[in-house]
Symmetry: D2
Subunit: 343 residues, 4 copies
Amino acid sequence: MKSSLKIGVIGAGRIGKVHAENLSRMPEAEIKAIADLYADDQLREWAGRLGVSEVVQDCRQVLNDAEIDAVFICSSTDTHVPFIIEAARAGKHIFCEKPISFQAGLTGKALDEVRRAGVKLQVGFNRRFDHNFRRVRELVSEGKVGTPHLIKITSRDPSPPSPEYIKVSGGLFLDMAIHDFDMARYLSGSEVEEVSAQGAVLIDPAIGELGDIDTAVITLKFASGALGVIDNSRQAVFGYDQRVEVFGSAGLVQADNDFPNNVLLSTSQGIYRDKQKLFFMDRYDESYRREAESFIESVLYDRPVAVDGSDAQKAELIAHAARKSLELGRPVKMSEMHALGAV
Amino acid sequence: MKSSLKIGVIGAGRIGKVHAENLSRMPEAEIKAIADLYADDQLREWAGRLGVSEVVQDCRQVLNDAEIDAVFICSSTDTHVPFIIEAARAGKHIFCEKPISFQAGLTGKALDEVRRAGVKLQVGFNRRFDHNFRRVRELVSEGKVGTPHLIKITSRDPSPPSPEYIKVSGGLFLDMAIHDFDMARYLSGSEVEEVSAQGAVLIDPAIGELGDIDTAVITLKFASGALGVIDNSRQAVFGYDQRVEVFGSAGLVQADNDFPNNVLLSTSQGIYRDKQKLFFMDRYDESYRREAESFIESVLYDRPVAVDGSDAQKAELIAHAARKSLELGRPVKMSEMHALGAV
Amino acid sequence: MKSSLKIGVIGAGRIGKVHAENLSRMPEAEIKAIADLYADDQLREWAGRLGVSEVVQDCRQVLNDAEIDAVFICSSTDTHVPFIIEAARAGKHIFCEKPISFQAGLTGKALDEVRRAGVKLQVGFNRRFDHNFRRVRELVSEGKVGTPHLIKITSRDPSPPSPEYIKVSGGLFLDMAIHDFDMARYLSGSEVEEVSAQGAVLIDPAIGELGDIDTAVITLKFASGALGVIDNSRQAVFGYDQRVEVFGSAGLVQADNDFPNNVLLSTSQGIYRDKQKLFFMDRYDESYRREAESFIESVLYDRPVAVDGSDAQKAELIAHAARKSLELGRPVKMSEMHALGAV
Amino acid sequence: MKSSLKIGVIGAGRIGKVHAENLSRMPEAEIKAIADLYADDQLREWAGRLGVSEVVQDCRQVLNDAEIDAVFICSSTDTHVPFIIEAARAGKHIFCEKPISFQAGLTGKALDEVRRAGVKLQVGFNRRFDHNFRRVRELVSEGKVGTPHLIKITSRDPSPPSPEYIKVSGGLFLDMAIHDFDMARYLSGSEVEEVSAQGAVLIDPAIGELGDIDTAVITLKFASGALGVIDNSRQAVFGYDQRVEVFGSAGLVQADNDFPNNVLLSTSQGIYRDKQKLFFMDRYDESYRREAESFIESVLYDRPVAVDGSDAQKAELIAHAARKSLELGRPVKMSEMHALGAV
């Protein structure tokens, strides 16, 4: 057994940098190389501070580097499938950001290759590693709320992405709500059987012009009989609004937002506290670290990964079903996605 | 102008008693008579303690009593319409519990008579008078959350009613969610245009056998473009679970449950507090008092009532649409209710 | 056994009115007469609304009324002792506002008369009946915090009384902190053995000119070995600030302030909630009602009162000791109060 | 200007390890050597993981290493003064854990040498860097509570140290409350003029046998006229209990404990949440990191340190005064400490 892994990071945008910084602090991981199409001096300087000297533009240098044990694929979504396939064929373990692809067929193809190669693949549903949501899941698993009857997820970003990003994002369901679809499966411990989506463009007409929505309410039916409801918004001006609750036959468990401090100021005008954490990197810093640690440990100790390819596949399929439901103006069953030509 | 009103209370079940007790403490109201089909010595004793000596079984005695200025109709729902019509024809102002009826046509007929008679009619959507929800509405009205994008209502009873009650209740939508439909209109300041309901029987199969559901998620679309979502359960074992939030372009406003005390106990086992108020009469005691006061004042000072017949009518129609949506397995527009034969 | 009591209210200032209004709603009590030195038409009108027609200026009319079973003494503190003595001699049960007097000797004399007459005397430490503090006491009594080690009481008024009132109030310790001295005994279940007071004039120099303080920290030692600390201020601009905590070998129990609603508003500026209840009549409305009910029941059913004369006596003595400690600039033992000439 | 500092860590016990781990992650710091009297293979292994190969038993090797720019003195308190003096004479900047010494004279001597040498000295009052307390201070500084009238600090450890540690700890005031004395100065922005301490042995008689106390209430008077109160316990079974509040003419600011998650579980038994963070390294992990960063930056950019020698000196003097007050059973003024022979 190795005592540490040599890692290649592919894509050093915002999320690639988060992973690289976390990996650079783990004794069990060593970043051997970072590949980014736009690698420049600034990126090299940043990498240098992490102790990484190999910074390249060509991803193949990482994918073909025999010394590299595992890759973190953090490039744009359209590159995930080809890079997964190449990495798998090269025998490298894979951490890939969500979603794997925008098409069920492509995702399936990538997972087939991963299976064939016998490498590990973990998908970046980092929220499963959040201290609050993880505690919710624990309490649900321990039966503290009895049989789950209703899963509620509020998931709102502080501000909408740029129109450029929205164009390539796959839309609200695949880009943003996909985390919530995974969370719904994670918290309920059950599979989604039916999806009904309502959407609206309330924040920015430009988003609507791109064929996307910025506000959504998505209702789920689970195999267990439980119901679920997710609400999404691209813009919560008071910060990142990420809350869940699981209501069941024996009780309710709720997780609130995280705050930068808990200080209360009482004056003649009322009581005030600072708003919640604003950005995903504040709110989820710990979960990004933990998911990377979990992946590293899974590879080192040959344990199953915490979030695997089928988790990505299922969440993606729910996103496709949500899109279809919005199109058709009616609930869509997962079982009819084939007949609808949606997969 | 009179300085106080003579009131007749019709129906002295649980909710009739709440109103009678509140009225008995108001200087501007005097309960002249209480009518209840099952009036007995026990009821007479209770009425005596409120200073009411006239307790009768025949409601007509109240409806025909020329001295009585206004009636509180708290009898079973099937009697609401005939009693409203008789009271209106007798020139009495009317406070009526919700819903007015189980059929849009009947409700419309009752309201026509009220209009013709020129009497006031207030409907028992007491939650509009709750200190928390009222404050939410105030903040929304003041523009503190900007344009509302999403109205969320959690509304769960502590335990299901008896099968006997469920049989005559009109079902979850008309009996229970109707409060939430009114709340959605109240908080959003907009009309509902489309309803999509998901339902399940998760608590008691007997409820399902009666053709009802015990768990529901209802999605709304408002004329303003905003979305809404209501979740209902007949059984929250930790108490009456009644929370709302309004999310908008400029912020979020949330109201939590009320608690019997705010005491926290911290031990080596964790932190504990007593569960929330359990029954609607604990949680909403103030709102019942305030709605009755508001009605009395509306009559005394000839002001519009806070919740009128059209509010009942609209909430009932949403309930009918929810029922239809559940039946059809698809969203239902309010505008198609006629075509669907649902009104 | 009587089924209801005839009550005379002596003193119809702010607190007398609170009691009269509560009594007027209790089926077991009937206010026979109200006496107030300054009784006028306005007072008569107010009394009329409560159904009380006998409103007199001469307290003796109440004290000598053979039909009256019990009196509520709500007049100024200097009249408490003579009225208690007269009432006791007339065989009437007594509810008296705090403190009984400003001198230990006088209080003792009044209590001797009460004992001799065999009537009941309850003292107006209403906070023992507050839903939060009562729950704290219950949890402490049940041993949930183990052996109490530290009792902490925060007690701050929203705004200072007028200089006129301060002159006759007995000062911060006897007027205001006396509630906290009683609370300390109530929550700890132990007697105070030593008092150390620190005081300051930080709010209004006029208070200092009258020989009083407006800010205080008082440290207590209990017979059980536990410590206690009380902090007082005459002016908390954000409302009535009344919190307690009991820390012990097995845990901590805390009671927070009460709020008019629990609504939270989140905007880009932060999170806001309305300030706490502002006045003692908002915060303690329930406790005033409950203490009067408790007194009425004690008399009707011949049970010991919840707060008796010795409770008043002990709290007053702690107040005198606090005063002495402030004077001497050192801790004062209760056992040395005699030697110090303070009792 | 250097772009990074070479650091020597002296003392690699619990707190020395915390600092070393934090320093190992800072790009601006490099740990050149670690000295610990009991350095063994286990310590070497731990140091190796931080990338530190030089681990020695003799502190002089660090103090005499010309390459080392700054030292972190984390050894036992009795060694602080000699090591500070040696380090200062060697021209090294110094971070020293609290307290500097158990005697005012010794601390003064160390500070004289530091001044003479012109090196920087920062003292380990890490709590000033806590996200909550720092925010409290900010709000106080911005005048949000007006003029401070009362500073309240609750400071309770989860469990008492071993008798061995208590023997060399300097006692509760110098070991534990010293953080709170510093916090009182930090939050109030004013100097302490008088101290009055009450103490008790309620947790473990063994602590009393060693001449120490385990429970304390300490009252402070500030130069500004404000009052302060600190309560300490060596054992809060529900976790590290560290709260502060500043009450002033315009409001109140409060900081609560930190929790590992914010999850609430509601069941028929009540509402439950996990207890607060248990250990100082959980609660204050961020503050340890920030204080070290602050020190590194002060040295690199030649800025004043955030907590200097006089801060240590003043907090120590308050601790001595508290001890004296407990001995004498009366308040002690800082100005009389000389006369009392306490300095």
